[in-house]
Symmetry: C2
Subunit: 100 residues, 2 copies
């Protein structure tokens, strides 16, 4: 498995708009085991994304999907930048979507 | 919803043992929407845990469950410490277990 923990900083007051874009753009991504978007309770302009994928290739393929590309294009002007992006290697647990 | 992103450092060569303990201790936790344990691919002694819960109370209640307490007791001597623990507020996405 392949995963990512990412911290995004939005432009001021744009977090809710970014969250909405991320949620609508990520409904159907082959190989996606989890993709959860979250607010940082201590910083009003920070979004955390935690992702798990079958493998790195499925993550990269998702970035080429029309819905995902549209979401990235729509969100980009609302973002100040990526502050953290940590690759991880998920091993197991609760909430990994069954894809078999 | 309530969530956590945690980074644990294990004692040298104890990561696989810690992962096994975490996975067996966390199978049945009421209110748990996701609980995923992962390796850090760039550091052989680092474990990442990403969690989502119905609310903070369900997370705290889980810490009192016998299986979770047993897992904590078993893992503790194998850990060097928590390096990061970031509370988050999950909003939605793929892989949040349905509990309703």
């Amino acid at each position: 498995m392949y995963g990512l923990i990412a911290k995004l900083r939005t432009r001021p007051d744009q977090r809710d708009a970014v969250l909405a874009i991320l949620l609508k753009g990520t409904g159907s991504m082959p190989g996606c085991l989890t993709y959860i978007v979250a607010k940082d309770p201590s910083d009003p302009d920070v979004v955390w994304i935690t992702e798990a994928w079958e493998d790195k290739a499925s993550h990269e393929a998702a970035l080429a999907l029309p819905a995902v590309r549209a979401a990235i294009t729509e969100a980009k002007p609302l973002l100040a930048g990526f502050e953290t992006s940590i690759p991880i290697e998920p091993v197991g647990g609760v909430g990994l979507r069954q894809t078999a």
